[in-house]
């Protein structure tokens, strides 16, 4: 285990060019214990970053350290890493128990321990009953659980999950997200969760890193971003225009939102101003409630702002 607070992954001026294509452009971040989401559209550089951390691709410049080591120079460090790819990677003719045992051995565990850990891991990922069936007959949800299991069977310090909810129905998606949370909160394994689905990341991760076109555009605590997007929604029966005028006189910016009004990023004093404005405009209050925008809306707005 890494000491608490020490960076598990660290990228410094990380750049990767594929001939004329810039996959990563001078990216820098650190990832410590917890669940970190790495967000971005296809081609944003998520997979390239993960491959560099796994030591499979050499950066053009900069460095990528994993548990304090360079994975491309020290293959042994991969014994402490787990990876769940997005694409199919399971042999159809082998049972989950046999496959996880084999993968634990390939990760360096002795055979007797590998068997025990394979059985334990399958129980924790919810596949204990079906573990002796050939995986060719598994549903998509079961296959995703085996893919997660093979990434956890050797008890890594950090696990890379590449689009773990891809192809799952709503129930399967919820179960997978619960497993991801359990991976850190109960198993103590840190997670780097790559996804293009902000809703999944928002509900699962402690921190996020947002890449766009190979560049780092945002990073920080999920709570910080969602606090930024707090709003107050107000709906009145009559005299909405009078209320808007009264609020603007008090320096409160409002926007029309359907039949109601929205106040962005309110602080505590806003509620006093709203009370006074309602009295002044004699507008009967029907509803007033705090709201949070989803991360999706925040980054959509950022994207629109960044567009030429």
């Amino acid at each position: 285990m890494m000491p608490t607070g020490e960076a598990l992954l660290a990228a410094h001026h990380l750049t990767k060019h594929y001939q004329d294509v810039v996959a990563l452009d001078d990216v820098g971040f650190t990832i410590s214990e917890g669940i970190t989401g790495i967000l971005g559209e296809n081609g944003a550089g998520k997979s390239t970053a993960i491959k560099i951390f796994l030591g499979l691709v050499q950066p053009t410049s900069g460095s990528a350290m994993v548990l304090g080591l360079n994975a491309s120079e020290r293959v042994e460090v991969r014994a402490r890493l787990g990876y769940m790819p997005e694409h199919d990677c399971l042999p159809s003719h082998v049972s989950a128990a046999e496959f996880l045992t084999h993968m634990a051995e390939v990760s360096g565990l002795p055979p007797s321990t590998a068997r025990t850990r394979a059985a334990d891991t399958l129980r924790h990922t919810g596949l204990f009953e079906e573990r002796y069936r050939a995986m060719g007959g598994y549903s998509t949800g079961m296959k995703q659980r085996v893919k997660l299991g093979q990434a956890l069977v050797h008890d890594p310090a950090i696990v890379f999950l590449d689009e773990p909810t891809a192809g799952l129905d709503p129930v399967g998606r919820e179960e997978m997200l619960a497993l991801v949370r359990k991976t850190h909160r109960e198993f103590g394994i840190s997670v780097l969760f790559s996804s293009h689905l902000m809703a999944d990341v928002e509900r699962t991760c402690d921190r996020i890193i947002v890449l766009r076109g190979g560049r780092l555009v945002q990073s920080g605590e999920v709570g910080h971003f969602t606090k930024e997007t707090e709003t107050v929604f107000i709906e009145v029966d009559t005299n909405r225009d009078g209320l808007v005028a009264a609020l603007e006189r008090r320096g409160v910016a409002v926007t029309a939102d359907g039949a109601g009004l929205t106040i962005e990023g309110p602080d505590e004093s806003v509620y006093d101003h709203v009370r006074d404005a309602l009295v002044e405009a004699q507008a009967p209050l029907r509803r007033m409630a705090p709201r949070r925008r989803a991360l999706t809306e925040l980054f959509q707005r950022d994207g629109e702002g960044a567009a030429p």
């Binding site: 991969r78 990760s107 321990t113």
Partner: protein, 299 residues
Amino acid sequence: MTAGTVFDIGYQRYTGPREGRARARLAVFKDGVRTALGLGRGARAKVLPWGFIGILVSVGLIMAMIAGAASRIVGAANVEQLNLPSHSDLYGITSIILFVFAAVVAPELLCRDRREGVIHLYLVRPLTGSDYIVARWAAFMVVMVAATWLPQFGLLVGLAMGAPAPVDYLREHWLDIPKFLAAGVAMAAYTTTLALLTASFTTRRAYASVFLVGLFVITTPFTTGLASEIGGTAGQWISMFNLTNIPVHVNDLIFGEVSEITEHAPAGAFSGAVLVSWYLAWTLVPGAVLWWRYRRLAP
């Protein structure tokens, strides 16, 4: 019957030994042997490898039985004059079976991993592409060595048991043992490398198998016919491209006698150094290409 209670003690962190690359290589090697022989798989996976091994062993035993029967008919003293096929001829006789065995079984070790994406999971573990391909090569090499040696041991035991004095037979023919062991390794290295190299170019086992069987089956009559038609040094060189004969020439050099399958091959007129160099070129160059293809492999 007593009632038991299962306690869920939750997830346990692993604090035991991590044996790194050595354990990873061994695991891939063991899995390769099991895959090649269908061990731990259903009956269908066992049919081909064990069927071929059964045929190969049968050839050795049949040769031993023929020698035993001939010894009883013409007498032990006269059986030498019959010049019956023995250890030096066995690889020549079984070479096409060995090639088909390699062509059918070896692709299973590589093609499935790439087709099903398992290779991506290997390469993110403490294992390099070189480690993976060397372990897979070693696994199939072990299986091929077993497949070449087993018929020779069957023949040896059969000949010894058929002789009037088995111990005397073994004392007189003990030198055949290191010879067939060495020739078997040469045969296995050649077939393993060519079969795995072909398998590395496709994700479909059937394509690799058909290509390899076609290569071995077609080049033999084609080169034999063309070499005898053209004759001379050019004919000799054309004969060198008979892929089934390349390791058999090495077998002939090891035993110091020409086996039945190569006695009419024009390539046999080349010196031993040329024949060995040709064999090494057909083993080491494909081996280097195979290693190079996997060395920088990444998901």
